[in-house]
Symmetry: C2
Subunit: 124 residues, 2 copies
């Protein structure tokens, strides 16, 4: 069942924070080192590293250490899974709304028809 | 800035749980009472109510009590905001990938051209 998907739990949890969303947005432009990524934030390195760990654990980013430099890159597949879940919900919801609109229109049309028939009967 | 959007924090946090995602999926089919919503879950009512509170606080659902019955309905606007954020990230990421592909193709074409020129020079 799509709703009991542990990887979606981790992805949505990772997205529920402005620092982590900003890091993802930055990595969408291309890979970056931890130092580059951390620069825009007024945050101690250990706190910032915790955010990167959450992102890595959720499968949204991958990191690689070469010498003393750790580089991060985005992994778009899990973001796509989150988007797919939201699109699925919207589609179901829109289909239901369309069905409701059609039902109301049909009701209205059959009432109009009944009224017209009644009018004809009266003028006979 | 789109990334420091407190309402997105709440929406993604609300989505990071399978029970809450299942409730949203159910409400996509139409409004339901708390009793109806809780039925599929083996969960004590107070725990289930906490999930509904998280959903209501995030703006993803609205609830209304008439007499002793509380009815819930989905509010699709915040779901749409979450989807829009993900679509924006994907678009940026895809544009970058396209630029990279074009760059590599252009590099390849100019190398081919240089090789052909070199070949012509040789056969003169």
């Amino acid at each position: 069942m799509a709703n009991s998907n542990p990887s979606l739990d981790g992805v949505f949890h990772a997205l529920a924070d402005p620092t982590r969303r900003a890091v993802l947005a930055r990595l969408g432009q291309g890979p970056a080192t931890v130092k580059e990524l951390g620069q825009p934030f007024r945050m101690a390195l250990p706190s910032f590293m915790k955010h990167l760990t959450v992102l890595e654990d959720s499968g949204l980013i991958a990191t690689q250490k070469v010498g003393r430099v750790r580089t991060c890159r985005i992994k778009p597949r899990r973001l796509a899974a989150a988007e797919a879940w939201l699109v699925e919900q919207r589609t179901l919801w829109e289909e239901r709304t369309d069905r409701m609109v059609r039902f109301v229109e049909e009701q209205h049309a059959s009432e109009q028809h009944a009224l017209e028939q009644h009018g004809k009967e009266q003028t006979k």
